[in-house]
Amino acid sequence: MAQNLVNALSIGSLNALIAIGIALLFSIMGLINFAHGELIMIGGYALLWFAALPFAVTAVLVVAVVIGCALAMERVAFRSVRGASGETLLMTSFALSLFVQGGVLLFEGPNPQSADVLGSLGASVEVAGLSVGKLDLAIVGVTAVLLLGLAWFLRATPLGVQMRAAAEDFRMARALGVRANLVVAGAFGVSGAFAAIAAIFLIARTGTLTPAMGLGPVLTGFVAIVLGGLGRLWAAALGAFVLALLSVMLQAYLPSGMAAYRDALVYLGIAVILMFRPHGIAGRPGAVRV
């Protein structure tokens, strides 16, 4: 049981990194950015491009590339539709997602590529009688630091406070002099940084990448946000961990003959939760805050 909880914590941390990157933009812009998956995918390929460098340098470059791509997405695709309906934003993000996937497909080809990232963390260590993978520890630790860092950023820095204000009432924030472009670009930048870190850990776990690899994680992140409660960052993280817990527990305790139904049962569980908590576990009608 304890071993499963550790696994759920690790998977939940990775889910949380993805979910928060998506939730931040939703809070401020009302945008569900499905092209977030492509940021993760670009992060994966950037790992390959810089693989010859020391890992610390590679990681910094991957984060920089993905943040740059996130800012470019905002400037090129989303700025012109800012303030448009949710449907328009959603369609824009789908179109952008396909466009970026197509671009990477042209240059990198459709075949899966393998990458050995953080191979030195492949072993396990004994923690309180449990066998815990070093990679899992790294994922949980880095996620905890990033979540605490984000909380500090949103509370203690002027841009963070402006983002919180914009998440609550963007029009009023602008009427007070808050620069819309700065706040939105800041949100895309943070979202990009989370996507980059998620990409590193995702590739470290799976070892493979394809141009379509972003779809699964972005769907997981979206489901986590809905499960936790739309519009609240900590609720997105909570949803990510609950989703991981459901998945890991079903994986562990389902009879082997029913293993194929694991994902279906996960979604059934989510549907049941949403029947009783239609705005998500921690959601409230109309609640939008970061």
Partner: protein, 237 residues
């Protein structure tokens, strides 16, 4: 000196014209009030001036410059502060964070903390509560915070949308005493207000708005001497 000049302004929501050809100007030191019933288009005028709704036609000029197409944040930085009917207080932020947020409209290098302290002199009850969440404030306190926050930006023009809305009579007395103090400091104020008696006592220029059409009415001093107005709005024979 003319600070604000609105010319032939139209604001539409779909097929409905909410504001029809409104023109008005505000001189430095003026307190201009627009009165009128619900749905007359008063708030739409203010929101168009602040850039929160787009005008269909017409122009808004600020210190001679055409700002019709400026973003709201640029107008705020140019010296226009807006207090909406809803107060626009950020409930999830602390009182202090709400106040400091208005520092976004200040030029680089201006000490925001000093501006916050100056604004709090008008509303000392908030001074000891800056770390509290704004969500805990009463309606009157939110109005104080909203006006105090607007003052942090050192605005040349303070725009108030229905400041009396939803406030108890005793709170209203305090609010309008504060507004009168701001007027006496020489601040320029443009407000829309349904409480005609309060508006007349505060303003030195008055406009009436009905069905989106504006008309200038008697100067407030004259109205206060008019027996029928006194009987209807002030309850005085």
């Amino acid at each position: 000196m003319t600070l604000l000049e609105v010319s032939d302004l139209y604001v539409s929501y779909g097929p409905i014209d909410a504001v029809k050809g409104v023109s008005l100007s505000v001189e430095r030191g003026d307190v201009v009030a627009i009165v009128g019933p619900n749905g007359a288009g008063k708030s739409s005028i203010l929101q168009a001036i602040q850039g929160l709704v787009r005008s269909r036609s017409g122009s808004v000029r600020w210190r001679g410059a055409d700002i019709t197409d400026w973003a709201p944040e640029r107008r705020a930085r140019a010296g226009i502060a807006f207090v909406p009917e809803s107060r626009g207080v950020f409930r999830t932020l602390s009182i202090g964070e709400n106040l400091r947020l208005a520092g976004c409209a200040l030029a680089a290098g201006v000490d925001v903390s000093e501006r916050v302290q100056l604004a709090l002199r008008h509303f000392p009850a908030l001074a000891d509560r800056v770390s509290e969440r704004a969500a805990v404030l009463s309606g009157g306190e939110r109005q104080q915070l909203a006006i105090g926050r607007a003052l942090v930006a050192a605005p040349e023009l303070l725009i108030l949308d229905e400041p009396s809305l939803g406030l108890a009579p005793v709170v209203l007395d305090e609010l309008f005493a504060n507004l009168a103090a701001l007027r006496d400091e020489g601040r320029t104020i443009l407000l829309v207000e349904q409480n005609v008696a309060r508006a007349v006592k505060l303003a030195n220029h008055l406009f009436s708005l009905r069905g989106g059409v504006i008309e200038r009415v008697d100067e407030p001093d004259e109205l206060l001497r008019n027996p029928s107005f006194r009987a209807k709005h002030l309850g005085m024979g």
